[in-house]
Amino acid sequence: MSTTSTPPAPHAANPRHRPSLSQRRSRPGEVLFKLALQFCLLVAFAFLVALIAFAVIKGWNRLDPRLWQEMPTGAASRVARAGVQSAITGTLWVIGLTAAICLPIGIASAIYLEEYADNTRWYNRLLELNIQNLAGVPSIVFGILGLGLIARVIGLGFTVITAAIVLSLLVLPVVIIASREALRAVPRSIRQASYALGATRWQTTWRQVLPAAVPGMSTGAILALSRALGEAAPLILLGAVTFIRFNPDSLLSSYTTLPIQIYNLIKEPQAEFQELAAAAIVLLLVILLVLNSAAILIRNKFQKRW
């Protein structure tokens, strides 16, 4: 059409010189890159499978009701009749309490930071920065804090509640950060629609933003609790290594937890203890799995309402 400005397309003039589309070229770089990605995934996955297989095989003989029906023992002669019941109940107490403490506080903090705080203010930005720093503090440091402040100064001692408070502090930054992500993922348009109808900030948050954020929040909460569940380091300082042959019955009970119990069992030289430890590891993994399934159920339930 145009004679002066636009040059004709290279092959438009002579259709016979147009290259065919059916010449598939091999692109080695493309293939290599895909293989490298698959390999990385395989490494992560293979280790996980190996770990589970190893624990199941080793602990196979002890994967029976004795595991949760019997109390631990220190004597090799009685190990055949021993289990880890006090560690299971201890874990459930501590994690249940941790959830009860860190979820409300963490979600409330996230709501403040996302929905209320004016992040042009320096103190709000400082808060934000420190929450991220806190997430990186080694857990043993929280253990020391718990030992000095909560167990000694406040005087709660080596009890379930001390452990729960310390684990709450430990995972709080994770809960806050995950909850903020979930809140941020709720479209602004939903908030605007609510405000434009004369809703208050609280009504908007409670009736629109929170329900929409629950799926994301529950995922973050479970991640945080899973971390608390597997945590041993701070609890070593907080009395969980004590030999416990009874179930906790109050906030001020002595306790032990599964990771600590596993550690104690593995220290013993006899093979029977090792087997029991492997069985306890499988149990710990099962508890983790149940928790994760709960998170998925919650997520699906709330998504269905839409």
């Binding site: 109808l197 009736r207 839409w306």
Partner: protein, 301 residues
């Protein structure tokens, strides 16, 4: 005051009327303005902006706007992107409060009451002056709950919520399409239906004024024409202010049109300014300002 056949007085609120002679009338968008003989609420002023400037932090987004918005009229705000028309719209029900650092200088009055006075409750302002947004934004709830949300949160005394929901949906010309699926998710509706649901939701709290921020820009022409019919219908009972990019739309539906554009000042900063405000007919057939004429004839913007 409310003689239904009375035409709005031809007030020339032209800003910058310093230009010597108005340009000759040009062949413009043909305003098939069906509102010419429409009932009006007379010349009662609902909203009034006096020397309004709007800031985001230190940046002055809109400078020195003066205009009045008449009762039961459709007022269109038009202009190129970035001219501050949406910012002005949001200042009318304090939606700008939600943007950190946003600030309004000058006076915006609603029936003579300063909207930005210290003791004014923005929540109450938004209940009286509702808003419909560019993208349909129904709540992820049922159609019924979308409508009932406003009355519930504002604590309206509703004796029969079902009736209120039906009335709002009928008013928004949506009832026949959704009456059998009120309990279904609003997100399953089409874009045009969603936008009418958003209008119904706004009507449900019985506001006096409805602000619409490009309500049709995400919709196809058929859905757009339905919304336009609806606006026309609603203007009998509500005062409507609409921001639109679509000049034909402004010409079709509005009684009065305000033309905004961005100006660069001595410091090289861009500010939105109101260039001309007049009856839609005047703006589209015989604008007083050269820039208005250039914009509506498509020569810039």
């Amino acid at each position: 005051m409310s003689d239904p056949n009375r035409k709005a007085p031809d007030v020339t609120d032209t800003v910058n009327s310093t230009r010597p002679a108005p340009p000759p009338p040009v062949a413009l968008v043909n305003p098939a303005n069906r509102n010419e003989g429409a009932p009006r609420g007379g010349d009662e002023q609902v909203l009034r902006l006096e020397d309004v400037s709007i800031f985001y932090g230190d940046y002055q987004a809109v400078r020195g706007v003066d205009m009045t918005i008449g009762r039961h009229q459709i007022t269109a705000l038009i202009g190129p992107s970035g001219c501050g028309k949406s910012t002005v719209l949001r200042s009318l029900n304090r939606m700008n409060d939600l943007i950190p650092g946003a600030r309004v200088a000058g006076r915006v009055t609603f029936h003579g009451e300063d909207l930005y006075a210290r003791d004014v409750d923005p929540i109450e302002v938004r209940r009286r002056i509702g808003m419909v947004f560019q993208k349909p934004n129904p709540f992820p709830k049922s159609i019924y709950d979308n409508i009932a949300y406003g009355p519930r949160v504002t604590g309206m005394k509703v004796s029969n919520m079902d009736e209120l929901v039906e009335k709002a949906l009928r008013r928004a010309a949506l009832w026949d399409e959704v009456k059998d699926k009120l309990k279904q998710s609003a997100l399953a509706l089409s874009g045009g239906q969603q936008q009418r649901l958003c209008i119904a939701r706004t009507i449900a709290v019985s506001p006096e004024v409805i602000l619409m921020d490009e309500p049709c820009s995400a919709l196809d022409p058929i859905a757009t024409s339905k919304i336009e019919d609806l606006m026309f219908e609603l203007s009998r009972d509500y005062t409507i202010v609409i921001v639109t990019h679509n000049m034909q739309q402004a010409a079709r539906v509005s009684h009065r049109t305000a033309f905004f554009t961005a100006e660069v000042d001595e410091q090289g900063e861009r500010h939105g300014r109101l260039i001309e405000y007049d009856t839609t007919n005047k703006i589209f057939t015989n604008p007083a300002q050269k820039r208005t004429e250039e914009y509506i004839t498509g020569r810039f913007g």
